[in-house]
Symmetry: C2
Subunit: 577 residues, 2 copies
């Protein structure tokens, strides 16, 4: 690796590199080839430069990388997301997962462009890492061992105060389960903003780090080259965002607004992806969710911001009949995978399942899919929420069955001998059946990240979702855009605003960094990001054969449209050629 010092460390921040073997922090200038990248694209670059692509993801050569996006640090609505990455223990390829909350903001204010954890801590040790403007402290975390995410976060907030940001893992990460994510505090100190996918929590567990505390006390916001221009853009952005009709939809219904839409397209995962329509979808819809929350009041909230400054507030607080919070937030993907996919039509049960997997520090998509497969294997009846909760408790107990489920849907299906596994690159398909929303199927198949709707959802595209033609183009654009947003730290829903004022992103970047980039920057960044990711995966041994929807989904017709996934392989292979 050759690093050329840009001499602009204040502008770009620095690399903070933590060697877990020696417990030392080294602060390094950002090399030229890294400076114009952020978030997801920067993670791909760091992986290519520093991690042997064929290494064991849970071995000593893998690294855990935290990188705020390029626009993070300014409390722009929904633009302070944190990207976390590594070689994935689940897919064995490149991995980035991003989350809201306040980790990104604190890192940016600390001047950390990228945080890299490398090396190996002593066996059986467990650590909390505290970072502030003075540097690093390693704190013995034996007292936090095995703690659920909620209790652990509460203790850490007690120790470090309400102002800090925290990234932490639950028991699942400590157990090195491949569905383990990394949780981040939201602005109200709730540790529910999870970088969920691909087993990043297991990498953090392997590094023997329970939590990282980011304390930005005494720090300034990151520098802005043209402050007046930046402010003007912010004003325009806020207006555009509030003008867009979807902003209000997401404010009112959250991501659960998607239930009726996806069910209407016949793409709602139902009983382990055996139907695209859930006959009681109205009971798990955004509309019904809002009705319940308004009725219950108490701690329930229909809108809630995960980060300071967000005006969309797609998050919510789901309280029980007595007004007590069960979980916050409840999201569409969880409703799809732990609701209809399990035949469960009761939001309270889904909320309880959601709380449990959150507390364990697990990806609710991956676990929902694993439970669906386990139901097909006869371990639970579809619709039996009590049994589903029992199965999740097996994960906490660390039983053999619990470890199977906690390692995700591919592991579960393979161990239990189920052919109908909904996964690509071993990662669970999210809540849009690829046979009904074929563009998203193309994304699942070809994204270097494995099956993942956030890599390029096409459900809003103006296309016949059942027709295989033209889906590759739609997916390609969606993937570039998503990768661009993920490199900027921009939430998908911020896109509502930027769609009305597409010039604003380049304006923000030019004002922030003194650059001169055009409106094309999002797609350019996205394309660069995906190119780097494909390069890493190729060196890790991936080929076109990995870019496929599961064989059974190309054969088994999905009701009600009786469609199969039939975008030709050659078209899939052409997407990034």
């Amino acid at each position: 690796m050759e690093h050329e010092n840009t001499g602009k460390s204040d502008l770009y921040g620095n690399i903070w590199r933590i060697d877990l073997t020696t417990k030392e922090l080294q602060i390094e200038p950002v090399p030229g080839s890294w400076s114009q990248l952020g978030g997801r694209a920067l993670i791909a670059r760091v992986l290519l430069d520093e991690v042997p692509p064929n290494c064991e993801p849970l071995g000593q050569f893998n690294k855990l990388i935290f990188a705020p996006g390029l626009l993070v640090g300014h409390r722009l609505s929904s633009c302070d997301r944190i990207s976390i990455g590594s070689k994935s223990p689940l897919t064995r390829g490149v991995k980035e997962a991003n989350a809201g909350g306040k980790t990104g903001l604190h890192m940016a204010r600390l001047g950390i462009k990228v945080l890299i954890l490398e090396g190996e801590a002593a066996k059986n040790s467990l650590w909390t890492i505290y970072l502030n403007r003075d540097g690093i402290k390693f704190l013995n975390a034996d007292g936090l061992r095995g703690l659920g995410v909620y209790e652990c976060a509460k203790m850490l907030v007690g120790d470090f105060g309400k102002k800090v940001a925290i990234s932490l893992i639950g028991p699942a990460g400590e157990m090195k389960l491949k569905a383990a994510g990394i949780q981040n505090l939201d602005k109200d100190q709730v540790p529910s903003r999870i970088a969920a996918r691909g087993g990043l929590g297991a990498v953090m567990g392997t590094k023997r780090v329970k939590a990282i505390v980011f304390d930005d006390d005494g720090c300034s916001d990151p520098p802005v080259v043209d402050i007046a221009g930046f402010k003007a853009s912010k004003k325009g952005y806020n207006k555009a965002l509030s003008d867009h009709p979807q902003t209000k939809v997401y404010f009112d219904y959250g991501t659960a607004a998607m239930t009726q839409m996806c069910n209407g397209f016949g793409g709602m995962p139902t009983r382990n992806f055996s139907s695209g329509v859930f006959e009681v979808a109205d009971k798990i819809s955004g509309e019904y969710l809002r009705e319940i929350l308004l009725k219950r009041a108490g701690q329930s909230k229909t809108a809630h911001a995960c980060m300071v400054g967000c005006s969309i507030q797609c998050s919510n607080v789901f309280g029980d009949a007595g007004g007590e919070e069960i979980v916050s937030p409840i999201e569409y993907e969880t409703i799809g995978l732990m609701g209809s996919n399990l035949g469960i039509n009761d939001l309270d049960t889904i909320a309880k399942l959601n709380y449990e997997v959150n507390d364990l520090g697990l990806d609710s998509i991956e676990i929902g899919a694993a439970l669906g497969v386990s139901a097909e294997a006869g371990l639970m009846d579809f619709g039996d929420g009590y049994r589903a909760l029992e199965l999740v408790k097996e994960i906490r107990a660390g039983s053999a069955l619990g470890r199977i489920l906690g390692n995700g849907v591919d592991c579960t299906g393979n161990v239990l001998g189920i052919e109908r596994i909904p996964a690509v690159k071993k990662q669970a398909i999210s809540a849009y059946d690829p046979r009904a929303i074929k563009g998203t199927g193309v994304t699942y198949a070809t994204s270097p990240q494995g099956a993942d709707h956030t890599s390029g959802l096409t459900i809003r595209a103006n296309i016949d979702h059942l027709n295989p033609e033209g889906q590759v183009e739609v997916s390609r654009t969606a993937q570039f855009k998503s990768a661009g947003y993920d490199s900027l730290g921009v939430c998908a829903f911020a896109g509502f605003g930027f769609s009305l004022a597409p010039e604003l992103i380049s304006k923000f970047l030019n004002c922030r960094y003194g650059w001169d980039v055009s409106e094309d920057i999002v797609l350019e960044l996205g394309k660069k990001c995906i190119d780097l990711e494909i390069m890493f995966n190729k060196q890790a041994g991936f080929t076109n054969t990995d870019d496929r929807i599961p064989e059974w989904m190309t054969l088994e017709q999905l009701p009600p449209h009786n469609s199969v996934f039939d975008v030709p392989d050659a078209e899939l292979d052409s997407i990034f050629a």
Copy 2:
């Protein structure tokens, strides 16, 4: 697929193709491109011609292939082996596993050059297929469901008589476990000749076939073009075989003779491959085994032939103190993986474990390795044979833990979160630690079959096994030779005879088929076979990154020589370039 009819169906036999969907047998002439291939090489050819390399191994497009080697059918000592193959559910690549017993002989006499099972039987059905010179019968096998291999074989022999050959699966194959093999009757109707590796039993289970009965009643031996020449060669071969000193060693001690040799080289797998020396290796040695068997008498036998005509008789019958048979045979690989690798120093316990895995229809190497990893995970203490037996019984019970173990060492390690997994291409490393016998390590890494000593064992090569230099050349020759033998149906130990009279193989082939091949035919066949296998694997998505010894074996020193596996990647990649 283009088939050119050779017009020599009597000489080469025919293709017998069974469609499980329609339950029909079609007998087809052998195409020109298949005629000069047999056994392992023919399987690779059939897979390339007929099975989509990227298909689901346990899906409807995979096929199960039985192919006797080119020299099978003449009762030449140790030359009647049967090759069975498929796309492997374990490695997801090309797979051939071969076995002794009488399946090969019966197929050759029935004129079956290759038997191909394709299509899908109805869900929840189970079948016995009966083949004789009149064709096929499908018999309902519901009464055999879940039966262990020993009882099932006894019932089938009761039904069909002692003269038939049978290939069958145990409960493990019915459960689609990826460590399930296919058992074959030996000449005494004992179903212990297992085509063990790579999960072929799971493919047969997916096809819903419990057993195939081959009845050669009324059939003649396969045609021989030059009968006199063949007879003369047979005489020379028998003499060469009996002249070779190793023939007597294997007659006296069986494969267990390897214990002291491998332990002496520091390559004996001990306590999940954490040492290359087992401190009480003498208690599980061939010498001690012979001493016990001679003392116990009763049903015990120090020498036993698995097929008619074998003069080496490396097999044995292991009886208990009261003279009752526990298992037949007990082999070195089982001693290594279920003995020293588990810290078990008691042959009676190893014999009982061996019987259990045989009866379940499982690969004892894969299960021994999985138990070693489960011991490292704390599920048993090393040396606790009682607990090891309990764990094997979990497999029979079909518990979550049992399914983990029954899916092999890679699955077990991944689910339990163990980094020290001894496997290549997800298949367990056999009883020669690659850090001490580095040429065999090269074979493990680069064989298209996955880790497998029978693909090219180098322990008898005249080389410093600890020096990484020159191992690639030694492995390459060993791999070509093994693939050649596996294509001929020739047992590795028949090689003792052929090493003294290398001209005999070509003489046999030329007399049998009217060919004019040279002494180089073994290596030529082997090279062709491996070329085809690599082609299949490449199309299935394999790359150089799959040709690697596990990372931890390149880092962790193996006592007593404190060696790591250090043959450079570039050399590994050059082996078949």
